[in-house]
Amino acid sequence: MKFDDLDVESEIENTWCPGCGNFGLLNSVKQAVKKLEDEGIGRDIMLISAGIGCHGKIFDYLNIGGLYSIHGRESATIQGMKFANPELKVMAFGGDGDAYGEGLSHLIFAAKRNADITMIVHNNGNYALTTGQKSPTSVQGFKGPSSPEGSVNEPINPLRVLLSSDAGFVARGYPGKMQHLTDLIVEAVKHEGFSLVDVLQPCVTFNDTYEKYNELVEVLEKPAETRKEAVELAEEEERLPIGILYKEEMPVYNEKVYPEGNPVEDRMDREERLEAVKKILDEKR
């Protein structure tokens, strides 16, 4: 099917719970993709990946090419796509269980190497698809089937973790502020280098945070000047600042490692390859 005949949103039946924060997120992504298309970043050069969980269904709901990955590995999968062809624009979707639990190491090192990827995390503070167990971002005392007496873990603050991992673009969004979230996603994709958009996603069934977020969420006017100040913003609990907390331009991985090359576009032909192999064989004589 050609993109010309396909809306950004697919016709697949949507099975998120009515009122799920994911609807707002999906809408923001749709709007963001349309904006990006208008700016010349079309779906022809765009790839996505997703982990496993309620969030992952977005892979089916979007008509964008890519690979629907496995739990926690979406950030590794998407880096493979980007490294294979740096011309492509890539976005990975993960849940808080995927991105901040099962696959946290991939995310930290994606930031550390400054892979030019955008990671959008549907952070709903629980494992919803598996019926509401505690997740890395669940608050202390969170009760779920695996923690009936309340979670004793101190939750992960993903923004602080990624800021300490030298991420060059760290943002937080809220589906209740859809236009704002749309703009964040557009900025994240356009940012050259690693970008994280942590999305405060209420889960109406297992962790309904609408009221809390509506009260605490506050749009930031501008990003922090320094990484240290950004960490302070990330640590605020009295209010939840949304927007770009921190942004810094840094050399991206593929430009550091292979500035000129593109593994799938600039291939040697068979003769050149054999010549290269022959040279090495001759050195071994």
């Binding site: 993109f3 050069i45 493979g80 490294f83 600039d266 291939r267 068979r270 064989l281």
Partner: protein, 557 residues
Amino acid sequence: MKDKDVFTYLIGGKAGEGVKKAGAAATSLFLDLGREAFQMDDYQSLIRGGHNFSVVSTSTREIYSHHMEVDLIVNLDERSRDIHEGHLAEDGLMFYNSDDSGEKDDGIGLPLGDMAKEYSKPDLIKGVAGVAVLAACNGMDQKDLKELIEKEYSRGVEENLSFGVEVYEEVDKKIDKTFELEEGKSESTVLTGNESLSLGAAAGGLDMYIGYPMTPASSILHLFAGHKDKLQVLPIHPENEIGVANMAVGATVPGARVMVGTSGGGLALMEETVSLAGMTEAPVLFVLASRPGPSTGVPTYTEQADLNFALNQGHGEFPLIVASPGSVKEAFFLSNEMLELVWKYQTPGIFLTEKHLSESAKTLDIDLDSLDDDPLETKMAAEDEEYKRYEKTEDGISPLKFPPAEDLIQWNSYEHDEMGYTTENAETVEEMHDKRREKNETLILELKEMNTVNEFNEGDTVIFTFGSTTMSVREALKFADVDAKIVQPVYLNPFPVWELEEYMGEDAVVVEQNSTGQLATLLREKCRIKPKTVIRKYDGRAFEPRELAAKIEEAIK
């Protein structure tokens, strides 16, 4: 000595004394004489101290294994003398470091400690003594020794030359005979198995190699990192094996030909992704370089206990190609071939090998012209047709298309429909299982036209073996008084039953390096071959050819 079929040289010492380098220099010397050689490095999982040795066997004929009946031994420390004294052949010469061992009755003492301490790297430089002793004992003149040192020890060459000549003169004074190895006619290259398989894949159009260090696979990563510009294969070393495997699957979506490499523990971490590759139909070639397990096991030694592990990779049902080379040379052509196969069939492949093949070096001649210049074709979608990633076809193989593209290209880990959307529909679930199974049937038809089983020698008794042990068996049969034919299945999954049927019911001998006889079981289950004797070894060391010869004789007679 001149007519001796096999001449074996061994140097032993502590890690950090240049033992492995000395082995490589000896191999280079034999190569310069036009001889064939096989070099095996025995080292421990440590950086300093312990005991390492490098053993090189050479012959004017092709040689498939090192031997442990040694004609010339150079011991850089007392522990080495202790361990290797018993390996000395009749008429052999043994040198030892008299500064470490004191004066001994057996062997020729050299004050290597005193001599080396005058140099800036007194430990590392000791290895040069190994080459100097070999040159002197082989009756080479100083000029030849200097040339060899300049070639092999270019870093700090002045000191190496001076020390080498000093040792040479000392040895010259103390020996009353030389070996004078006959020159051969070989114009070989020398490669390790890992080098061979890497270059084979590069020749086949590899775009990326992704790996996380793990012995004995690490040197593949080092090769691609060291030759990035020459080979134009992008090397990546990510955070862990799970990252490795998933990056690899991702890289196939835009069409990169990618290979990953690891050992058993690493593949265990990757296994979820092998299954992902099966479901998404991602062509990834996994190199499994085995070592003795279970768990951390004996990291720097060899074993063939991961055959079942390789064959049973991944949950769920999907086509999986598993093959294992029986020689360093075959590693080159097999990685090349497997890369083509995984792409044609869009499914994961496992290139199974062991430390003994991965890290041993052998003289060989690779004829690049013998590579098929008409490689297996990857089925690509026509430009103007409506694209479906998992389109049902007669042979089960869906055409590929890579972005940038105007079409929606969706790969999916969930069961999916032809477009790649997730499905739980009973009919579609069944159809997609059928599609992947049909792909496997097409693959089997393809394999039936290919060389999937190697046979060596002629004889009434059949000896089955696989992987690196093939080399041990081939060398052993030079010393066994038996008429036996070696049968080595190269492809292990799909198992080439069609080639092996003729041996059904045969009283065969099986030789393999594990404790439970995994190949024997496979032969019994798949082909109803009844192994009469299973010769096993599982002490981490490769078979010694003459010892194996004795076991084969005992089994057959």
